[in-house]
Symmetry: D3
Subunit: 132 residues, 6 copies
C-alpha cells in the first residue's frame, strides 16, 4: 500500500455543549494542523499516488471555507459539537467528494483510502480514515 | 475509523540481559514520550472518540506508577527485558484494563482498538496496537 | 549562559481590528503551544536554572487564566489586538511577576532573562524576550 | 501488533518527466528523512521486534548507496520517475531483501510487515507498506 | 525584543568543490525548510512585528526564484559553494532588500534584525542572523 | 552571525540529591537529544561554519563516553547532580576542548561561540551557550 501526505492548517473559534466538555463549553478556539493522507495499491502511470499540486490546492480550498470562522455560526454545523474528530470526518467527506468530482485529476480515481488527521496541540490529535 | 491521540512522558532507568543488547546491557535510562491512540468506528453521542480529559488523566496515572523508577527493581518486571516494545505492550494492557473498568467513562466501551507508542529518541520509537 | 525551557499550551478565541488583518478580523481562534525559556549566568546550588516543577506549575496557572476564553471579552485586553506577539509579551510579564513574587522559589531570583514563545501553527510563531 | 521504527536520511538530485510535474521537471533535489517501521505479532525471545543496531546499520547501508547521487544517472532507475512514493517502495524492497538474506539477524524472520516512509519536507511525505 | 517567524521550503540540486566535502562533491540535492525570523524592540501600531501575510508572501517569492533549480547553473552563484550557511545568508540579503524596498509594508521599517534558518534534515540546520 | 547545528543523542541513568528534586531523587534515567550549535562571524574559505562531518564525529565521540552509563557512578561527576543544564555545560566544555585541540579542523579556530542544548522530553530542554 502506498500513501502520500500533504499538510496545511486552519484556525477557528467554537464552543461545545455537554458537561463532558468542562471549560471547553465556553467559546474558545483552535489551530488545526491538517494531514491529508491518500492511499492506493499501485502507483499511477506517472509513478504517483496523486498529483501533489492538486491535492495541496484542494485541501487548501476546503480549509479556506472553514478558516477564520466561528464554527458555532457555520450553517453546516447547526446543533453540532465541532470536536476535532468530527471535523476530521467533515474534511474527509469534502476531500472524498473533490476526488469523486475529478478535482484531484483523473488518476485520483485509483485512490482507495483517505485519512484526515487534525493536530490540535503538541499533545493531542484526532483522525478519520475511510475507504474511497 | 476514528482515532484520538493523547501524549505524555516518563523517565526510567533499566539494563538489558543478552549479548544482542551490546552496551545497553549496562545500567542506563530513557525518556519515553508516550502516544496513546484510541480508535472506534462511530463517535459517541457527544461527538467524541473518548473523553480526552479522562484519557489524559488515566494515561498520566499509569505512567506515574513507572516514572522515576529503576525498572530492574520493579516487581512487575522480574527477569524481564523492559525493551521499548515490551513497555509499549505493558502500557497498552494497563490502559485497556482502565477502559474495561470504566475509568475512561461509560462511552469508552465503544472503543475498538488502542495503540501505544513509545518515542525513545529523535530516531527510534516502538508501539503495540491491539483490539479492545 | 544557561537556559531551561518548559512547554505547555492554551486554546482561545479572538478577532482583530484593522484592515491589515484581512480575514482574521472575523472571530476565529488559535491553539498556542507556549515555550517559557528561563536564563541565568550561573546555576544555583542544586545545579539548576530553576525548579522545573515550580516553573511548569506557574506557567500552567498563568495559561489557565487565559485558556478556553474569548479574548475579545477578557477585561485585561480591552480595545487591544491580542496578536501572537502581544500575547507572548503578556505571558512574559505574568511569569516575570511570578518570579519577582517568589513563586518559582527563592533561587529563581538569580534568573536574568526570560523568553516566551507562542507557536501558533507548524509555520508560524512569535516570542518576546526581556531581562528580569 | 508490535512495531519498531528507526530513522535516517539521504540527499539526492533528480528531475521528473511528464507535464504533471510542472517546475519539478527541472533538475532539482531533496532531503529524504526515512522512517523504516518493522512489524510482527509477537516479540522474539529477547523481547525485541528486531535488533535495532542491525536495523539501523542495514538502513544506513541501503541509503548510502543512494546518498549524494543524481538519481537521473543511477543505473537502477533508467527511464523511471524517482518520485517520493517510488523511492519508498525501492527502499522497502531493499530492506525486505536484507531481512530475507539474514542481515538483520535470524529472529528478523519473524517480521511480518515493513513500512518505509520518506519525509520530503515539513508538509509532505510518502510511504510504502507491504508484508514480508 | 519581539520576534515573529514564518516557515516555507524549497528543493534544489547542487554539488560542492573541495576535498572537505567528501561525497557531497557529487551532484546531489536538498530540501531546505526555511525559517525567517523578524525582530524589533516595540510592536507597531497594529500590535504586530510584521504583517505576517506580506512576510510569508515575500519569503515565498524569494524561495520561488531558487526552487526546483540546479544551483550549479544559477547565474547568482558562479564558482560559489552553495552550502546551507551560504544560502541562509543569501536569503537574508534578499529578504532584507525586500524590507528596505517596502515590500513587507511601511511599518516593517521598524524591524531591527532578521535571522534566516535553513533546516536541511532532522539532524542539521544552519542560519544567518544580522541587523537591518 | 552564522550558526550551524548538528544533532545526536545519548541515554543515561542517574539520581539527584536534594529535596527540590522530589521523585527524581530516585534512580531513573533520560534520553538526551543533543543539539550542538557552532557560531562564527564569517564563513571559512570553503563557505562553511565548520566541517559538518568532523563536528558530527566529535559530538558522537563525546556522547559515546557518556552513553549507556549510570552517571551516579561516573568518575567525572562525583557528588554532582547531573541535571540537564549541568550536562549541557559539560558537553560544551568537551566540545570546546576538541575545537581547541584541532579535532574539528584548522578552520574551526574561527568559531566564536558554541551552544549545547539537551532536549529531555517533548516539553523540556536546557542549554549552555558560551564563547570560544
Amino acid at each position: 500500500m502506498y500513501s502520500l501526505n500533504v499538510r496545511d492548517h486552519f484556525m477557528i473559534a467554537h464552543s461545545f455543549t455537554g458537561e463532558v466538555f468542562g471549560p471547553a463549553q465556553r467559546l474558545h478556539g483552535a489551530t488545526y494542523v491538517v494531514d491529508a493522507t491518500f492511499r492506493r495499491e499501485e502507483l499511477d502511470s506517472d509513478g504517483l499516488v496523486v498529483d501533489i499540486g492538486l491535492a495541496s490546492q484542494q485541501l487548501s480550498a476546503i480549509l479556506a471555507a472553514l478558516n477564520y470562522q466561528n464554527l458555532d455560526d457555520h450553517p453546516d454545523f447547526d446543533d453540532q459539537n465541532t470536536t476535532t474528530e468530527f471535523l476530521a470526518h467533515q474534511i474527509y467527506l469534502r476531500l472524498a467528494d473533490a476526488i469523486a468530482r475529478g478535482k484531484l485529476g483523473s488518476s485520483a480515481k485509483g485512490l482507495t483510502a483517505l485519512c484526515v488527521t487534525l493536530n490540535e496541540s503538541h499533545v493531542a490529535w484526532a483522525s478519520y480514515e475511510g475507504t474511497l
